[in-house]
Symmetry: C2
Subunit: 461 residues, 2 copies
């Protein structure tokens, strides 16, 4: 029997690889997907889904103080952590089986094992040779060992630890530059851990609008999370009662005693997948691609975390790129729209944004108009006690182009889709201002912020 030749082989069965493989089959391809570990990748197994589950628990917990104000009597809530973990493990197992079934239904062959490129049109999966016309690289990102004195201690862990532990630690230092540390800080704090959050950045959420970042900082602060910025770890000493950490930060020197230091450092997984065999660089920080997701090597596409710095490691970015890569690999010219990448954080209140901050927009040379509608002035927002919620709309003055939308509040991870849809359809701020969002919803404030940007808010005081 002669060797099969695949139209497309996808290396990596995660958030990007799975839709890439399915889409390639839908377009008539003979397709295989190679995965060394669990189908679903980091997002499903160790990222968005388990932490999304934890954040939902965290939100319900937080809503109990609102409940109390509404006359709903509740006893102080406590968490049975093994029950939480068991439920999320079951959901993830179900989802993993779902991915397997969907790949099967779409005739995608799943090849288990570690794959690497073995030259043009050739892959090797643990000794087995595979021939194909196109390769889509979707190996994601991998954990990086942090670099500070004491980083080698066993009490220094990454966030995987929270998924396997049976008991939450009493005192934790979260250290690094990732925005997702804020979710974890809040989750731990809600369920009784004493949290110090030390960011290496100038401020929390340094890539987000200051309006939003300041408000989230206030919430975290009010909840008792100690926040340090521009932080470095000077020294870690292991003692009987925990780790003594000397922390240097903008707020001054501080010694904290904790049970764990949790870091969240990931980088594109470029090594060991044979990039050199086709002339690609495996030493850079990520693999650059064009708007068709093509690498500089012919017939080789790359998608997802592999192709971006950590702050863009969103699985919806990976999924979108997967579909674009598959369509290009199958000869259908499709391009990415870089303006439609939204950013979400499942803190309470949630943070969601798209496009440029006011400062970035000005820096890019636009004549900028900015409008804002606090959710504390929104009817549903008052009911939900959205004290720190706000909608900020950034637009170009000349043509009304929507340049950015920045949200903090309940369910803004769903609401940001409205801004996304506006940007996707190239709607102007005038259109946004006249969109009759239903009442009472937080979405109404999106239209009001747009009207504010245009100088004619209806409801703002």
């Amino acid at each position: 029997m002669s060797q099969e030749i695949y139209d497309v082989v996808v290396l990596g069965g995660g958030a990007g690889g799975v839709p890439a493989a399915i889409r390639a089959w839908q377009l008539g391809g003979k397709v295989a997907i190679v995965e060394a570990r669990d189908l679903g990748g980091h997002c499903m197994n160790l990222g968005c889904i388990p932490f999304g589950h934890m954040m939902v628990a965290s939100h319900i917990f937080k809503n109990l103080s609102l409940a109390k104000d509404m006359g709903l009597s509740v006893r102080d809530i406590t968490i049975n952590y093994p029950t939480l973990i068991k439920r999320q493990d079951e959901i993830i197992a179900f989802m993993r089986q779902g991915v397997r079934n969907t790949l099967k239904k779409n005739n995608v062959e799943v090849i288990e094992g570690r794959g690497r490129i073995a030259g043009k049109g050739a892959l090797d999966v643990e000794g087995k040779s595979i021939s194909c016309k196109k390769i889509i690289l979707a190996t994601g990102a991998q954990w990086q060992k942090p670099e500070f004195p004491g980083a080698e201690l066993e009490e220094v862990v990454n966030t995987d630890f929270l998924i396997t532990t049976k008991k939450l630690p009493q005192r934790v230092l979260l250290f690094g530059g990732s925005p997702w540390l804020l979710e974890i800080a809040q989750f731990l704090s809600h369920f009784g851990t004493q949290v110090t959050l030390a960011t290496t950045l100038k401020r929390l959420l340094s890539k987000e609008s200051k309006t939003i970042a300041t408000r989230l900082r206030k919430v975290l602060n009010d909840e008792g999370i100690e926040i340090k910025t521009q932080a470095t770890i000077e020294k870690v000493t292991k003692k009987k009662d925990g780790l003594t950490v000397e922390l240097s930060a903008k707020e001054g020197l501080k010694e904290v005693v904790v049970d764990r230091i949790v870091t969240l450092e990931r980088a594109a997984a470029l090594k060991g997948i044979g990039l050199k065999t086709i002339g690609l660089d495996e030493e850079s920080s990520f693999l650059a691609v064009n708007e068709k997701t093509e690498t500089t090597a012919e017939g080789i596409y790359a998608i997802g975390d592999l192709t971006a710095p950590p702050e863009q490691h969103y699985s919806h970015r990976a999924a979108e790129m997967g579909i674009v890569a598959a369509e290009n690999a199958m000869g259908k010219g499709t391009s990415l729209n870089p303006e439609t990448l939204s950013r979400v954080l499942f803190t309470h209140p949630e943070v969601a944004s798209i496009g440029l901050t006011p400062k970035e927009a000005r820096g890019n040379g636009y004549e900028v108009i900015v409008g804002a509608a606090p959710l504390s002035m929104n009817p549903l927002g008052m009911i939900l006690a959205e004290d720190e919620g706000i909608v900020e709309v950034v637009a170009d003055k000349s043509y009304g182009e929507i340049l950015g939308v920045h949200l903090i509040g309940t369910a803004v991870s769903e609401m940001i889709g409205e801004a996304l849809m506006a940007i996707q359809t190239e709607a102007t701020v005038y259109t946004l201002a006249s969109t009759p969002f239903p009442h009472p919803t937080l979405s109404e404030s999106l239209a009001e912020a747009a009207r504010d940007a245009l100088g004619n808010p209806i409801y703002l005081p």
Copy 2:
């Protein structure tokens, strides 16, 4: 001093009248608003806001069973109804003051008293004559006495009763055709009232997609609400232990014993506002207007509940019409887009929809494609236990025009804004299918349902 002549006088200071007055001032008008009772109208004082508040309490209550599955221990929750009512009264008082301040800031004169048209360009407010160039009628709707044997009994009440009572009744019959009865049924049921929900219609939510309506019925049914359809009240007898009601329904004859019968019947408030003086009909069921909100009388505009049958009594419709009316009254030609009216119901799960059901679309002669994505297959949906959640997208096969979107699930009142934005911008189902909604959100299922309509879902089994 000669009498002042207003450019615009708005009759009614509710959800439509307030934005109308403010917008007219923004466009350079001298404006007054006439209100006989509380600023904010029915929505703010007796409708969306108090019931929105109750539904938020109801949602938090419902989420406690999810919390339990997640390992969050809670004691059976109880409600202190006076505390709930006190909080919502305070919010409403704050909002009313906010409306007053915003009107003041925008130089809108508030004239207190009952107003009526006294001829072309003339109004009378309790004896005071007012001259104006344009009138915007925004008197809303008013309670209708139901017509069944026994309707005159004091135990037969409308929903205002829930806002003033100190204690929830033990057994209630909700009777009528309004979709909002479903919210009230669920609220009462969650907080211990035994509820019979008797709709006069063929099925619950008869104007909504059957897919959605069937799922909500199942939820209400599972919660212990007894549901009757095509119901009529044959006889009500007042006895010592309550009202004995003979109910005839599709499900058969049934005698129920209740403490209260609650109805929700409202109709356009056409009477007593002087319509006859300018040749308008006050005997019809509502006042018809064109796409500019003009009545057939020159210079007289009408907006909101006054202009529609009860199933369109949405305050966001009133607010949108208010702005359109003000812009036309001030000489700026603006038109309503009837396709952007969304419908929302704050049950748990919420229901939200826009446009045509599959059946309506077929009835209108379209060649229809329909796609559906159950939220039980959506990653966040699995976490939230969205067993009955679904997204349904209805499109025209030839051009991909989005004809309708139908949602049931958590926070779909915010999500429907995405569909609204798509329809507002005339985006096709192809655009919706390729919109990269953030992960993990329920919104992702909107794109998946669009892909399903096109025959190429990525994640559906």
